[in-house]
């Protein structure tokens, strides 16, 4: 009986394995496959829906304009990394080896990007463009020039944040940062720059994710050196919202300075508009000329009426997809190495400027042998020798329960 049951179960398992095979054969057929590694669950899950929509919009525009490489369509193959590098490495392996994608958009977190690049995509030579990996360490991957990002590194954001905080008349600030590469890197960049501008960091704490309460940490921070504001570097779902609630309920802090990680409408909805009124923050911004930006926003709203085109890293994700599409067209093939080599050619100056939604025009220009320079929804998208986009930083404020962009600055 035991033997029989085993036989049936083993057959089931084998059957499930067999299901995976047809996909391998299909990989050779018409559409060009682009992978996306997004954090659909886990700590970054709150950011993912609009980012996915941004990528989807870019691909739809390309397909609606008649596709690339003589009518081939782009097809998105998505994977969920659960905000965990180990899971990310195994799903990236699937994308690269089983789904045979030409290029990958993502992953979202910096640490995960480093892990995936080192273990999977660099050895396989697959170009990846992360829309949101902002840690400075991503620049230092030995990547054979295969790792790019449309997000602006955190060094710049930290400097801008420090300046904005000083301009608001805040001299003493407490810093609370999520204990990971993102939180620590940005907190460092901010503190250094804030002190250079004559500010004082009264106390600094790295917090662990997903705790039921942060009152003890907040009490320590509030009680030391009389801080005028709390600089909070966090993600909403894994602690950020709880910290804001704890701080407001116990009146530890009344002014908040936030960063890209907390730039999400859900934060205002979860914590309340009134206590957050006047809170300021920064995020990798949109440096695009207003017309380019408006075109993108209009198209995004038409396709996704319920999502925010200005959400964190959404425009960057859209641009990442666009750059890949243009690079494939420029390379004239869906070969990984050819795409990698073409990415800078289509994104960087010199060349005829093309913007969001202008894929058909870009294709015509390329067909005539002209050089193109993509100016995206999030910025001019010029990749430097590390593959980092040179962009701008957005300064935002919460006004009447909405996140409002105040300025876009480049230094």
């Amino acid at each position: 009986m035991i033997q029989l049951a085993l036989g049936r179960r083993a057959a089931l398992v084998l059957g499930a394995g067999g299901l995976a095979w047809p996909a391998v054969g299909r990989a050779q057929s018409e559409p060009v496959r682009i992978g996306a590694i997004l954090s659909a669950s886990g700590g970054l899950a709150a950011f993912t829906p609009p980012i996915r929509a941004g990528i989807g919009l870019a691909l739809e525009e390309v397909n609606a304009a008649g596709g690339l490489l003589g009518g081939r369509r782009l097809q998105l193959v998505e994977a969920d990394d659960q905000t965990n590098p180990q899971v990310a490495v195994s799903v990236a392996t699937r994308l690269v080896q089983a789904d045979n994608v030409s290029a990958i958009i993502g992953p979202m977190a910096s640490g995960i990007t480093i892990a995936v690049a080192n273990a999977v995509t660099v050895p396989a030579g697959v170009p990846i463009i992360s829309p949101s990996a902002t840690a400075p360490a991503v620049s230092q991957i030995q990547d054979n020039d295969t790792v790019f990002r449309t997000a602006v590194p955190d060094d710049l954001q930290g400097q801008v944040l420090a300046r904005v905080v000083r301009e608001r008349g805040i001299e003493r600030a407490a810093v609370m940062a999520i204990n990971n590469d993102y939180g620590r890197g940005l907190a460092n960049a901010f503190s250094t720059s804030f002190q250079a501008r004559g500010g004082t960091v009264t106390a600094s704490q790295n917090f662990e994710e997903n705790r039921p309460s942060y009152r003890a940490e907040l009490q320590t921070l509030a009680g030391r050196g009389g801080p005028q504001a709390l600089v909070l570097i966090a993600y909403p779902a894994s602690g950020g919202n709880t910290i804001l609630r704890n701080a407001i309920e116990n009146a530890f802090f009344t002014r908040f300075v936030l960063t890209d990680g907390m730039r999400d409408q859900s934060v205002v909805e979860a914590v309340g508009a009134r206590p957050l009124a006047g809170s300021i923050g920064t995020a990798p911004g949109s440096a695009a000329t207003p017309e380019q930006r408006a075109k993108y926003e209009a198209a995004f709203r038409r396709a996704n009426p319920n999502l925010d085109p200005g959400g964190a890293f959404v425009a960057q994700a859209y641009d990442a997809a666009y750059v890949i599409a243009l690079a494939i067209q420029r390379a004239g093939s869906a070969e990984r190495a050819a795409i990698r080599a073409a990415i800078r050619e289509v994104a960087n100056a010199p060349g005829e400027v093309v913007g969001p939604g202008e894929f058909a025009r870009a294709r015509d220009l390329l067909a005539r042998g002209a050089a193109i320079n993509y100016e995206g929804a999030s910025g001019p998208i010029e990749f430097n020798q590390h593959g980092d986009a040179q962009g701008r930083i957005e300064v935002w404020e919460i006004q009447d329960g909405r996140i409002v962009t105040i300025a876009n600055v480049s230094e």
């Binding site: 998505e78 969920d80 180990q86 699937r94 089983a98 977190a109 273990a119």
Partner: protein, 310 residues
Amino acid sequence: MEAAALYVATMLTLAGIYAALAVGLNLQWGLTGLMNFGGLGFVAVGAYTSAILTAGESAQHLGGFGWPWWAAWPLAAAAGALLALPIGAISLRLRADYLAIATLGVAEILRLAVRNEDWLTGGPLGVPGIPRPFEAFGQPWGQLAYLALVAAMVAALFALAQATAHSPFGRTLRAIRDDEEAAKAAGKNPAAFRLQAFVLGAACMGLAGAMLAHFFKFMGPDALDPVTTTFLVWVMLIAGGSGNNFGAVLGAVAVWAVWAATDWLAAQLPGELATRAAYVRLFLIGLALQLILLYRPQGLIGERPPRPPA
């Protein structure tokens, strides 16, 4: 076709690493009845030991020793065993539930320690640039060679575990698990035997951690997730059949195959649904565990009673 073969090789490598973990846990739980919920801690110690010994020089973390993997892996196993020694010595004298709590606590402490001891582990940035054995062979042979290495390690661990299970030592462990008083009456010292089994199992987990770190070529605190490093192994062992080494290996491969297949199936769904599928997968693993415990507590292949002497 080559890419598909490589994908299968990757999945088999990961299944092999899980099999090593399951064999280690089987030694502790299946054979001896020790409830170890701290697999993550032993994996972490093994992984970081091997990572630090082999990774290149870096300002981020301790390193630059440049050891070859074959010298570092035994030390990784030893590190796992060394961690188990004090924990076991203290908590094995207590009832089984206390060991579960102690191991859970130690795993959590270690997770926080590697996240915060920047000088040693690189903190949240982790240890990148861990060399993978046989990488010089290039694709695809390097990857297949690594799979062969993992398979050889699992085979060796399996052979050792089988030998242990059939030895007088293994019979004593089972006797202690099933009836401690009777074993005592026969003159055995349960605490000493339990400690030995606990330490041996932890060494397996340390080695598995090293294999994991070298496969990913990166080790960071985010990679130490209790769901995928501790509890998935429990599901594998229980599904395969605790107390039976064949069951441990079969459970690891079968559950990993289902895990990988559901990832692939979820990817075929359109956007919104794919997001939900991610949570459904976790839910299904829990549900599967409940169903197995309710309807087939012995697992796919349960423990066989030892043959009576002829």
